[in-house]
């Protein structure tokens, strides 16, 4: 893969934004059918930091991400991006979902431009596609490329608006194991290039250990943050580095798995 080399020419730098979550709770429904998904979450994320939200399914980690994106509204509490409260869609964020969610009627290049909200031109899209290794596929339709390539295009779209914060909701969960590893390194490359703050949701402990500066472990639904784990390990990380083993064991134990 020549990704790091090709992305060296990328000229998309952003002002990374800090994110502050202040006493956020989220309840779906009302009355007796109300379900508390997040309770009293407070979290400070520094500009340029890579934070992974880790937790069992249904723990509300995606909801937290969607609150930061402005796709959901907190029941109580506030989310601040770059010091300004999020209300409605937060245009300082680029979002990547679990599925590529490309518009099937637009070319790969035009799909990337959707992320720029009309602000970027085709050259910028070409640069981004180069950064994610999709040069030569600009004019292809989403259905003509593989799932991994579509997800790379989605990543390029997420970056196209030069977002201060890149939000990723289990972005690699639907990819095959090898593609997933490649995409993780690609994400680290583009994050390093652009300098965006990255918040990524996953239930994959190894993914969290490979990517994160900090892992925020959420407990069972509605119980809030269970633990925050700093991963003080230099990059590029060796996935099988023995130094990561104690952290992995600790996290697995937290999910009830004792190796």
């Amino acid at each position: 893969m020549a990704l790091t080399e090709s992305s060296r020419g990328i000229d998309i730098h952003v002002a990374p934004a800090p994110v502050a979550v202040r006493g956020v709770t989220k309840t779906f429904g009302t009355g007796t059918s109300a379900v508390s998904v997040l309770s009293d979450i407070s979290l400070d994320i520094a500009a340029g930091e890579i934070v992974v939200l880790l937790g069992p399914s249904g723990c509300g980690k995606s909801t937290l991400l969607r609150l930061i994106a402005g796709l959901e509204t907190a029941t109580t509490g506030a989310v601040l991006v770059d010091g300004a409260p999020v209300s409605g869609i937060n245009l300082r964020c680029g979002v990547v979902f679990q599925e590529p969610r490309l518009f099937p009627w637009k070319s790969i290049s035009d799909n990337v431009l959707v992320g720029s909200r009309g602000g970027a031109n085709r050259d910028a899209a070409a640069q981004l596609l180069d950064a994610v290794g999709l040069t030569g596929f600009e004019k292809h339709l989403p259905r003509q490329v593989s799932g991994g390539m579509a997800q790379r295009a989605a990543l390029a779209r997420g970056l196209a608006g030069s977002p201060g914060v890149l939000l990723l909701d289990e972005p690699f969960a639907a990819l095959d194991a090898l593609t997933r590893l490649t995409m993780q390194d690609l994400l680290l490359d583009v994050a390093a290039e652009t300098g965006s703050t990255v918040i990524l949701v996953t239930h994959d402990i190894d993914e969290a250990l490979h990517l994160a500066d900090r892992i925020v472990v959420l407990g069972e639904r509605g119980t809030g943050i269970a633990e925050v784990v700093n991963v003080d390990h230099p990059r590029p990380r060796d996935r099988s580095h023995p130094g990561l083993a104690p952290l992995r064991a600790e996290l697995l134990a937290r999910f009830g798995i004792h190796p």
């Binding site: 796709l71 979002v95 979902f97 969610r101 009627w105 959707v114 992320g115 909200r117 339709l141 608006g161």
Partner: protein
């Protein structure tokens, strides 16, 4: 990266693809003609046995002759032209209103709640029940015919457009919202293209309905058109012309559907 390999394979595929696609088209057309040709053959056979009188079952030759006769007196073209014009106008009106109201109902929940039950009730009225009222209100000339055809075109277009907008993948809408699209831009850039395939199938259904309603409209009060020709040939026991009109309706219906299909292919290249 394997860009180069993929590119080479693509060119190879496309040249092989165009060859096989020609053969495939020829095969498709040939297979599609199999049944009509067999029907004509059977028809010619039965007409030739002498079992039936020509007023019961004219031969294919009789029908061709009738066509030539009508054409030579320049009446056939008039009938076709006026019918086609009625379908075009009525369909355009009905489909336009269908798209407008369907979009409203499909895009706005509250509009759906308010309008949907009424339209459902109106839809339950057998469409021909409107005829007497239309004749009283609009006279016996073009207006009631066009209105009836428009009613025929409206319902399938309305229903599919509304359903099409409602069935748009919420995930795609969310992407649009997440990247700052709202209001009319969300509609034109996400909802409309996403609903377009369904909208097109509604348009095709509406067009088929239009031909159906054309015949109904022209059977009622007219002195021109294919529906009139049907009634007139029934009254004068010209079964050959009856056959001719039925075949013409089949061909015209299929032809207009084909034209819309071509347009659909052009617009929905990404499907």
């Amino acid at each position: 990266m394997s860009n180069v390999d993929t590119g080479a394979r693509r060119t190879l595929n496309s040249s092989v693809g165009s060859l096989t696609s020609v053969t495939r088209t020829v095969t498709t057309v040939a297979l599609g003609l199999l049944v009509p040709v067999s029907i004509v053959a059977l028809w010619a056979y039965f007409a030739g046995t002498g079992e039936f009188s020509t007023s019961q079952l004219p031969s294919p030759g009789d029908v061709l002759w009738a066509a030539g006769d009508l054409a030579s007196r320049a009446v056939l073209w008039d009938h076709i032209a006026i019918s086609a014009q009625r379908v075009a106008t009525g369909f355009a009106i009905g489909a336009a209103i269908g798209i407008a109201v369907g979009s409203l109902v499909g895009l706005s929940k509250i509009a759906g709640v308010i309008i949907q039950p009424t339209i459902g009730a109106i839809r339950a009225v057998p469409s021909l029940a409107w005829v007497p009222l239309l004749l009283i209100w609009l006279g016996i000339y073009e207006a009631p015919k066009l209105t009836l055809i428009a009613i025929g075109a409206f319902f399938p277009v309305f229903t599919t457009v509304a359903a099409g907008f409602r069935a748009v993948d919420r995930n795609l809408v969310e992407v649009g919202r997440a990247y700052g699209l709202t209001g009319i831009r969300l509609v034109t850039q996400v909802l409309l293209p996403a609903a377009a395939p369904t909208i097109f199938s509604g348009i095709r259904l509406g067009l088929a309905q239009s031909w159906l309603f054309l015949v109904a409209a022209e059977l009622i009060a007219s002195s021109k058109g294919l529906g009139f020709l049907l009634l007139d040939s029934q009254n004068s026991a010209r079964t050959d012309i009856l056959f001719l009109v039925i075949i013409l309706l089949a061909v015209l219906g299929k032809l207009t559907d084909f034209l819309v299909g071509l347009l659909e292919k052009r617009v929905l290249r990404w499907v």
